[in-house]
Symmetry: none
Subunit: 255 residues, 2 copies
DNA sequence: TGCCCGAACTTGTATATACAACCTCCCGGA
DNA sequence: TCCGGGAGGTTGTATATACAAGTTCGGGCA
């Protein structure tokens, strides 16, 4: 592919994104100013402005009038992806969320996990197993693998206080996510953790998230079918919603 | 606050967003071209271009080179899952979709249906029961109620050739949708229609759609847990997707 | 009749220029 | 020492202009 086909503002953006992803530019670092980009890439200031402006709109950088452009603080860019954490969701309904840590360990990626995270078999990954409760009733079993290289201080976290997704988005902005929803019968361990009755089905969400263009997390979220449901709402922008406010993920089953 | 402080490109955006929100501009409607905005608002083309370009980046409109700018359909990457017809989805995977009509009748709305459609109990509604198959294997039981007033010619349709959702969006663009995903055990009738084994769970999607600001359709879509899953993908606009192409809704269970 | 070509319109990109608002820093005066 | 002001940098917005590439549609030619 010839780079010639790529618009110049796009080339500027890609260059800066690549330098952020490579770690060359780190959060709060100064990004080249419009004028510097004009000189170094021989583009007009409008083109440099467009590149930086779009990077700002996409959450990569922060711009301060009269000061400069800086790599964004990762915490601020949650708007990129609207995957709400179950803790926020439960809290939003005025209920009590708690998490019980079942396992937190470093492992070698094998089989499905290595494939999903696109790492070589045997690579270091962290393995998390957490039971989330709503008013002391289990509503989610979170079985998550995280690329170790990406989250070095994972073992030091207290995942009963901070959810894994909050921890991850604190390290770097999530750029992309993929999820699959299934209905299955739980295995014995899952059934026990979620205190489910025999024969009760499970709503399973399998989710992968990306940052810096690479998969960083692969999670299997199992929920008791009788106590959990996913809701979604779609409307053209600006439409006052004609339905009562709904949470994005989770919600106890009505009656 | 004086509107004078507002940048002109922002005023253009706000004007168009307001007209979309008010229903004056509806999905797929044509939005004024850059040239028209230049004439009507006395701005330069670059300013009009910026307004429309940002509206595009934010998902409000769709732009086609050489053709024009149009109000976007329902936000594609909303919250949980995208709305897509099962027939399209199956065809997209190169498989054979077929529909078997179990019931098509006019009824009086009662209880749950009347509440969901926000009509008075006893109002006329159409009731549809359709089994969708993929390569002759049942994958969805569609149990749908439609407000009769909205779709007068419903009984004349051949729902083995056109799906209800395609029929509905042909009458009027869907403005809003709401759905709930659950995992349950099917009742006997559902199990029989979907040829499910005893104890096999069901993935149920309950969906309501709006047009003209009123609910028009209420459907319960039941899928065999062993043969169906929902997939979703979220990325900021413009991001080349780093995962293999996935169908948005539906897909047979891998192994 | 049928087909091709061009006019007219659309969006996409790029440049040069201009002015305004804001921030930082240094220098000079009180 | 303290304070004020200005120089020079930064982003934010707006305009006029230009060319490229795509679509649509109708008219004219074979």
């Amino acid at each position: 592919m010839a780079a010639s086909a790529k618009p110049r503002y796009r080339a500027l953006k890609d260059d800066i994104i690549a330098r952020i992803a490579a770690g060359e530019l780190r959060p709060r670092d100064r990004v080249p100013s419009e004028h510097e980009l004009v000189d170094r890439f021989s583009v007009s200031r409008m083109t440099a402005n467009r590149a930086l402006r779009e990077l700002h709109a996409e959450g990569y950088v922060k711009r301060v009038t009269g000061v400069g452009t800086f790599v964004a603080d990762m915490r601020a860019t949650s708007n990129v992806l609207e995957v709400r954490s179950i803790a926020d969701d439960i809290a939003h309904r005025g209920r009590q969320h708690a998490a019980r840590l079942v396992r937190l360990s470093k492992q070698h990626a094998r089989g499905e996990v290595a494939r999903a995270l696109q790492v070589a078999p045997g690579s270091d990954v962290f393995h998390l197993l957490i039971v989330h409760t709503e008013n002391d009733v289990p509503v989610q079993l979170e079985d998550r693998h995280i690329v170790a290289e990406f989250a070095a201080d994972c073992l030091q976290q207290d995942f009963t206080k901070i959810t894994p997704s909050a921890y991850l988005s604190g390290i770097a902005p999530l750029q992309e996510a993929e999820q699959v929803v299934r209905a299955t019968l739980p295995n014995a361990a899952t059934r026990k953790h979620l205190e489910m009755q025999a024969g009760e089905p499970c709503l399973v969400v399998i989710r992968r998230t990306w940052a810096h263009g690479r998969p960083v997390s692969f999670g299997r979220l199992s929920h008791p079918g009788s106590r959990f449901e996913l809701t979604g709402h779609y409307a053209p922008p600006g439409t006052p919603r004609s339905t009562p406010q709904q949470s994005v993920a989770g919600g106890r089953r009505g009656k």
